[in-house]
Symmetry: C2
Amino acid sequence: MNKINIHEKFSLFEENWTPKVIAQSNGQLVKIAKGDGELVWHKHDNEDELFLVFQGQLTLQLRTGDIILNPGEMYVVAKGVEHCPKALPDTHFLMVEPASTAHTGTTKSEMTVASEQQTWL
Amino acid sequence: MNKINIHEKFSLFEENWTPKVIAQSNGQLVKIAKGDGELVWHKHDNEDELFLVFQGQLTLQLRTGDIILNPGEMYVVAKGVEHCPKALPDTHFLMVEPASTAHTGTTKSEMTVASEQQTWL
């Protein structure tokens, strides 16, 4: 594989809440996404989900309170924990999660991007 | 858990080539380390190892050539691939790898930090 420049990868797409896969490691996928506004409440019963912010601000709304992530900040949403990400305009973030992780868990939404539609960049 | 500010975590230690654990997710550990100079050639037979650079420059020397990582760049060293990291002074980087990953694989060195000695920050 070649090295991956993350900012360069972010320049290759515009859509919000549409994860793009940039690497795999130990059965987990590294994905990047842009956000603006709110996704939907959902949970992943079997997968932890790691979020790391590169630009903007990503708020992980949890039932217990908000986790507000600025650039250089990360958080792991544990399996089974309901969350609803929301973001300021032009927010860029990275996720690490098992290949089995459904975008919006068991919640179906117009915004859901099925795993097989999550393209590699 | 609380959110993790990665730059703040880097301010908490000075040692080079001494991974500190900052999070776990799906059985994998997120570690940060500082580098300066060269570690040792080694490989991990069963674990891929993800590197992401935050500051400085990390070169992953492989038998097939060098992968030179600047801030915002990442690379996954696949299981079984021999590598020897080297770094410019004041290099800061993050790794994601299974909890089972030995620091310098099957190579023992004065620089090796056993997993049980890799402290949480």
